[in-house]
Subunit: 418 residues, 2 copies
């Protein structure tokens, strides 16, 4: 596996910038973020022109309305990107925190200190705002960002990156704190996934095809931002009125995002009474329902659900419904079909809540609230780079802290080992 | 990429055991470890007989003396494996620790709780004691261990695993808390590396060929336990007598391990006086020295060092030597050739020590002590599963804590998102 020389060169540039960023003061990093924000706004006309060219080509290629909207920039969206950078500048700097420390019997003083990861690579699709959001979070955490967006957004990303790089340099930090991969080829994307020795962490942000490609090709350390097949389990002892509000919110408030609920699990003790109520309410909001026999026998509008339906992240106004005989069956169903993102139980029964939070294996387990809260902003992180569905390194929403690692610093007075 | 069905079945068994272990009490886990320790000692004759068969075959295959010694079990080594399990039983249980917690303005109570990883796969070479050490640490942290040793140790590993599995079952925990991969084929090893959805973390323990194979094939999350090309930098302001002791200890106390020093970097201000002294002392201990021009011009016994020498983990009585003109040059040399394991500075100059600890990018940076202290035991972790040279998830010695992840537990009172 020999890497394209151009990719290695990009890695080298990002790594050199990362070495400078690792030692940069909070003040210097914040100044760079603010300068980048100002330049984004000042260069908005150039960015919008570049985006217009991307949009025209995308329309010619008959891009769907959804992706087309995500590709589109407006003056308001550019301002919001700039505000995002200013928000990140206002967050506390995670670097230098002493996580713990102790003294060994031989007198060695060991401390574990938070430090940047180094070079964070992000491969993403379509949205030019990720270029700015990701570069800002990486820089604040002392990392260089190696960004590979999609070809359809290349001109937009180039214009955004140019503004930010100019801003960073103005504030005295390396332009290469943001390195944009401008070759849209698959070979180069695979090269980024295999930049061992240069990339300390790769975060793919995109659909299942991207995730599968990263799993297949990546040889650098990866944090997977995967699917959210989130469940709401309505227990025998749920507050049934509250359950209507929560399920409606979890499913319909923004159905296209990963923390929206995709599946409803209902204890049979309340299914006769409650399932017809929630089904009417969901159908009134335009939600298509598919379910198991227990669900279909109680509500005739519910279609047949296959295992594939139960395992699917619809990202749309569609929901699977399973009526289950017990809490055990509910937990088993959730652990079988869940993707380790967010799972909720609605109940007033402490023992049931306790068991669900212990036995369900997911990044976030929620009692009596909507699944929609699994989010860096809602958690209070100020911003997020993604939501991890793996267990290694970071789980759930990833903010600045999750873009760091640690080193051991050991102070001795001449100790040798016997 | 379709996985061999037998590998998937092993993953399924380990995953089912992990679900039980995640909810097991500390008392149950400790009882299982103690029962496993007792059975290891009781079944020592069977284990030694199995090991004898492995050794005979290895001798026929002309295995080198070093690997042959690592493969060999003795009654004392089996007792030491049992004692290791008892030590792990005595360690504090990391599971359930609340890492942090806070209340959001909307009243949601969020806590971050330490939980097991799930299934930890370990691919290792030759040493049958790893079977016991790894299974014990994994179980204490609530994980099932999926272990793939080398074919040369298969009978030994089977005997060790049988004793432990029987012990775990005796104490009421799943036998499959330890699942041994008994098919020694490369295809099956690759299958373990690609067990997505079953393996939550893979830790390879072995030489460069194994690491390269894992990098190439693994699609599951990996923690790399890589090379230790460790440096000792002797600063212009080092205590030169102490430096002799530390360098001798770092290089010669146990040259075959990853935290032994492989490279000596000397500030030119002290090189005339000190380099001949340390060179004589090292040569007297049988160390072969290779170095740059600055080193060779001062000590005629130092041979020529290539970049390959400076980049190599010798794991033997050989050391590279670089005389450098400045602290900056020393840091650059260490960051260029180091492998991110352990790097030491010897100095009385606070500013130099401070810069070295900040600017050198390694799991452990040491001031005025031997590199040999980067080790789970020496750090006070009680035991270690390996030493990570990557930055994701864990860095440096990995003990029980590094075999865990966390989940967010969120308590609400009906919150929905606006």
């Amino acid at each position: 596996m020999s890497l394209p020389a151009e990719v290695v060169e990009l890695g080298r540039r990002a790594q050199a910038a990362a070495a400078v960023l690792a030692g940069a003061s909070s003040a210097a990093k914040d100044a760079a973020l603010l300068a980048g924000a100002d330049l984004l706004e000042q260069q908005a006309p150039d960015i919008l022109a570049a985006n217009e060219a991307d949009l025209e080509e995308a329309k010619k290629a008959r891009m769907d309305a959804g992706p087309l909207d995500r590709l589109k920039l407006t003056p308001a969206r550019i301002s919001s990107m700039a505000e995002g950078l200013r928000t990140v500048a206002d967050l506390a700097d995670p670097i230098g925190e002493v996580l713990d420390g102790w003294v060994r019997p031989n007198g060695l003083e060991i401390s574990r200190v938070r430090v940047p990861l180094g070079v964070v690579a992000i491969i993403y699709e379509n949205r030019p705002n990720v270029t700015s959001d990701a570069a800002g979070l990486c820089l604040k955490a002392g990392n260089a960002a190696l960004l590979r967006g999609s070809g359809s957004a290349l001109r937009s990303n180039q214009a955004v990156a140019a503004a930010l790089r100019e801003g960073f340099a103005k504030a005295g930090l390396p332009q290469d704190s943001l390195v944009l991969v401008e070759d849209p080829s698959h070979e180069v994307a695979v090269g980024v996934m295999q930049l061992n020795g240069f990339v300390d962490c790769l975060i793919p942000r995109g659909g299942p095809a991207l995730i599968a490609s990263v799993r297949e090709h990546a040889t650098v350390p990866v944090v997977i931002d995967g699917d959210g097949n989130c469940h709401v389990y309505v227990d025998a002892d749920a507050d049934l009125d509250q359950a209507i509000e929560i399920v409606l919110n979890a499913k319909t408030q923004r159905p296209g995002v990963c923390n929206a609920a995709e599946s409803l699990v209902v204890h049979e003790a309340v299914a006769d009474e409650w399932l017809p109520r929630i089904a009417s309410a969901l159908i009134a909001e335009g939600v298509e329902l598919v379910g198991n026999d227990g669900a279909r026998s109680r509500v005739s509008e519910i279609g047949v659900a296959t295992d594939d339906d139960f395992g699917r992240e619809f990202l749309a106004l569609k929901m699977s419904v399973a009526v289950v005989p017990s809490l055990d069956a509910a937990i088993a169903h959730v652990n079988r079909f869940g993707t380790g993102h967010t799972e909720a139980i609605l109940t007033r029964d402490l023992a049931a809540a306790h068991r669900f939070t212990k036995e369900v294996d997911a990044a976030a387990v929620v009692v009596n609230a909507s699944t929609r809260f699994t989010d860096g902003e809602e958690f209070g992180f100020g911003a997020e780079i993604g939501i991890s569905t793996q267990k290694l390194h970071a789980r759930g929403p990833m903010g600045l802290r999750e873009l760091t690692t640690y080193k051991y610093v050991i102070w001795g007075t001449g100790q040798t080992r016997e």
